[in-house]
Symmetry: D3
Subunit: 166 residues, 6 copies
């Protein structure tokens, strides 16, 4: 026996059976941070001022990735997402700067949307990486994590809002 919900008693991967769970509204908020040099961040912000497509491309990529989550993560259930929104903004601490991606997903379903939100944030971050990699090969994506989870049997959950990595 083990404690992994996705492994059976023999240790074999399977989807968790959610057929007995209630259909309730579930929501999740996740984030990912694309660490950039101050120079690349400045160039992105100046692009955005002149209406460049950097943020829009990453937002669309994130929204479409949320819808592909169960196609990417083997044991995720397919879910009828009722809402996906992506938010991208620059951040700066004393020692680092970059773009902060936040993804919020909502569904009425039998299981949560944490993986959908995390997948959306990750793919939006990778899309920013792709558009900036010609300027800087040393970009790192940090702090991909869940911030909030609402609904479902286990109730609401909120991450400690520590500024990681500073």
């Amino acid at each position: 026996m083990n404690d992994f919900s996705h492994l059976n008693a023999k240790g074999e991967a399977h989807m968790v059976d959610v057929s007995a769970k209630a259909i309730t509204t579930r929501e999740a908020l996740a984030e990912s941070r694309v660490m950039l040099s101050a120079e690349v961040l400045r160039q992105i912000q100046s692009e955005q001022l002149s209406k460049g497509d950097v943020y829009a491309t990453a937002r669309i990529a994130g929204i479409m990735a949320a819808k592909k989550c169960s196609d990417l993560i083997p044991l995720c259930h397919p879910l009828p997402l009722s809402n996906v929104s992506l938010d991208i903004e620059p951040f700066e601490t004393s020692v680092r700067c970059g773009l902060l991606v936040r993804a919020r997903c909502r569904t009425s379903g039998q299981t949560g949307v944490e993986m959908e939100a995390l997948t959306a944030a990750s793919v939006a971050a990778l899309t920013i990486y792709d558009m900036c990699k010609a300027l800087d090969k040393g970009i790192v994506i940090e702090s991909t994590r869940l911030l909030e989870k609402r609904g479902g049997k286990s109730g609401d959950w909120f991450a400690n809002e520590v500024e990681s990595n500073d």
Copy 2:
């Protein structure tokens, strides 16, 4: 005008035209770190000892994600990957522990496979997250980054092997 290879002079997103580039062997190695509590890491390792599917599921998810990269990242070119391999192992530093995911991709093509390797590492990390999230909601994925890039016009490149996040 701008410095972004994926934006035209008007700031609009487009695929980079690679039709004039030579077909050469290109390779990339990327990593992602799933930060876990010592207790969850211990449970995963004991699962692996008894042949549980955690690592195998994440490896397969990463390999399949590499093949879907151009379907996820809007401006990536479709590429005929000739090789994808995933490597997962536990790591421990003085203050943190978790699973280190490394993904290596290779192609004979007109453009590099950095995004394929980064996508593979990210999705394998998200798959581990998914299988462990019932044990620990505070898992964070750190340090998704490129380690090596070989081939192509810009030549070989290697990341500084600093242990980030310690």
Copy 3:
């Protein structure tokens, strides 16, 4: 502020939040017209008489495209379609001729299936184009539009049945 349901107050694309909407039966009928020379139309009809696969291939392509709609249109919600049917028939007016494609979709869901029906009609039309393009490079697809929409809060809607393009 703006009037676009898919843009937030900052003008950023997002999925419309449908989580508060009622689940009701929704239906849509859309069409697309493949304008062909009289000679190509005659060849297709003679193919159909001898059981050629032109119509069947286009019908199947349309049905499968309806199921991929949310994967193609970035802000569309994934929907559990309960019915898709495609109808293809020749049409002829005093000055033009071709094939008329009509797609009908139905769901029990929180949002309508207009885009599913329009996507089905468009992809079926493109499939006909593909099979005929060796015979005529000047094929044009006209009049891709919604004909009917039933169910949902905004109620039923019917297009004016004018014969466009004549």
Copy 4:
């Protein structure tokens, strides 16, 4: 007129309209048999003993294929699967041996999951084939069939448990 639920009166393929059907719990169990030489079966079993990924890869492939069923089978409805599990084990009769793949799917929906279970079993069997084909080009997949079907208007159904192919 005809007796095919997926053909209309004109013989044209369409999705069956399930919008009037009740949402009930539906389940299906299907199997597929990969016929192997005794030598290849011995090698697979010895691989499994040393924790090789053969079974795990096939299980993951089957689970992911169940989720892609409506994308593969043109007239299948998209369904929110609530459970998929795959089971692989060696079998031996007096004259044949190989691996038996069984796939179980469950949903709360308006139509059954027979095709999902059959697709999962078939793709898991093909994945085993792929991993063994360098050892034996003469592998044959036999007996892909439904074993059980529960729920829905037509009620429960069970296959005769004859050992086929002996």
Copy 5:
């Protein structure tokens, strides 16, 4: 026998065998016109002025659809696209107005990219439709057609630049 390259002598659909064709650079330019009321067009243009995502979302959708072409059009060959770009701009004639979508695709391959360009233009047009449909249910997509085709055995081809639909 028949003249359809995609039907065999029995009238059955199949992919054209391109294995004997030379790998050459091939390019195609296609367009689609989204007919809008003057009022909706004005609102879109004012959104664009304030950096709204309408055009960007449609461009990204078109680029991603070009990469999915062989997944949508049953008899299309999978192709390694080396370039895709989308261009959207308002147009106005004496009697109509709307948005003109142009899609350009390029490959080094054994077959042309006409369907990729047409699919990109169609899906970008459908994406505009989706974002504007709450403002106007009577939107029509007209004139989806090929404008240019370069490379391959049959050589270059250009459409007559008549302003259709006026």
Copy 6:
């Protein structure tokens, strides 16, 4: 160490590295047999006589599945297929009858197309199953196997043409 080309020395699944292999023309022919009752077979044949879509739907499903092979079989390489054709015909032996599906695939690539042909035959067979399952729940798919393989380093290979299962 092991003999499985898709497992590394540790028994972990990976894609075989084909980057050093020559690009040559490769071809494969595979089959699958859908065993039907004489009554169901009679109904299908009478449907086909009146131009029903059964065979056409299965052919299109098979062709599209060949293009999705690397998305389904975890360790398959993505390949630019240059040709796919499907052939369906009734067969009858002294004790059994049904439909015989044969799929032929061709590519110029670094690895073979056996899995593409087997996937095409399997999915076409499952599509026939889907369309007939309301008539007969006891349908079985037998004898999914490779018939021919041409090209590549290991040379040509042909199955023994025994009539299996009789």
